[in-house]
Symmetry: C2
Subunit: 238 residues, 2 copies
């Protein structure tokens, strides 16, 4: 991989991990020195991140600052995702789902059954779920065969914690594990209903189900608020 793409990844991770605080200035020279490269790839990376919305132009027009996400941004982005994924599901159902896509979705259901079938969560289940969940959503979105829609969702997923593959690590507290299990079980059952609607060609129901399903992400955010809050803008983190 080219160096400049590595810089993009590093910078993005520095922001998403909270190493660079929201509102903090990001100048080219300090970053370049810190990473041991010249300004050129750093400039490139900042351009990429600016387009993604992770950094925004500084008020004085000199350079960038780390974007201050609010909890409202996350909610809003999830709502946008619900609308777009719902639309994708409707398109897919209307056109008729292909046998391959149906098989892929059913494989996700089987994987999901393995996670929730035990009646409780064990270490590794969080990652397993995140993986199958991303596949599930990608199949629906890709199945829409609507490039602008796919593109819009990819952009929207740049808002931290709003995407279907958002942070969903394992947690240890027993009470929270139980709560997370409940959320995943609900999501799993929704997955099943969504597949049913898609296969039967019921576009309206598929759209409604997917839109509702996106709100499961809200629950995850509540669960992981302690990990998320340091990354938010001050006025929203209180």
């Amino acid at each position: 991989m080219s160096q400049q793409n590595q810089i993009v990844l590093k910078l993005r991770e520095m922001i998403l991990s909270g190493l660079l605080r929201p509102g903090e200035r990001v100048a080219e020279i300090p970053v370049a020195d810190h990473l041991g490269v010249s300004r050129t790839p750093v400039r490139y990376a900042l351009g990429v991140l600016a387009r993604e919305g992770l950094v925004v132009p500084s008020s004085n027009g000199r350079g960038f600052v780390v974007r201050e996400f609010t909890i409202k941004d996350i909610h809003d982005a999830i709502e946008v995702r619900g609308a777009l994924e719902g639309m994708a599901a409707r398109l897919l159902a209307q056109r008729g789902i292909s046998p391959e896509a149906e098989a892929g979705l059913r494989a996700c259901l089987a994987d999901g059954q393995r996670v929730v079938g035990k009646g409780r969560l064990v270490p590794g289940d969080g990652v397993a779920w995140a993986t199958l969940n991303e596949r599930f959503h990608d199949l629906i979105v890709g199945g829409s065969e609507n490039r602008p829609l796919i593109h819009a969702l990819r952009i929207n997923d740049q808002v931290p914690f709003s995407s279907a593959k958002a942070f969903l690590d394992d947690i240890t507290d027993p009470v929270m594990t139980r709560r997370q299990y409940d959320i995943l079980l609900m999501a799993h059952m929704q997955h099943g209903l969504i597949v049913k609607a898609l296969v039967s060609g019921d576009g309206a129901r598929a759209e409604a189900l997917v839109r509702e399903h996106s709100y499961a992400a809200f629950e995850n955010i509540t669960l992981f608020r302690s990990a998320i809050y340091p990354l938010l803008a001050k006025e929203a983190a209180g």
Copy 2:
């Protein structure tokens, strides 16, 4: 304005005007020579356009080619816009529209009445409509106060001819002028209904109306197909 932004504008116009053909390779050095600048601002501009989706990485991984839009892309992007603007209208209606926003929308209605009230189109009406139409849509989208939604729409509008401010020049053929008048009258009446739904707080109706309203763009495309088709990918232009 900085030079690199001017380069972005120039390159974007070269693509959207068809000067650079779909599928055509865009290398840094020829472009830099042609515009009389160094490769640096050209590299910047290409990065911007790539993230906008107007150019895509070349298959061999060297440089970019002009993106080949299809008529389906335009339709798809308009459908995405309908979904997102519809959502914006619903949010705005649910929260309750501010007096200022309502006044702005009514001003657009008044401008629209001036265009269609004559019972026919005269030179300049096309531009006048495009201006008020953009204002109308921006008021609704901005009124949603949903940043990710606004962002998604801005990205989506990069697809040529899909945005609310899309190409709508004056045409001379009498029959086509008549047809365009009909389309604008319908759109104008839809605008009126949308404002009514927004003011009365009927989110569901506002969403449905805006979504339906977006399809007016399809009609415009049909009207201007001769201007649009040279910009499309070969397989879709037949």
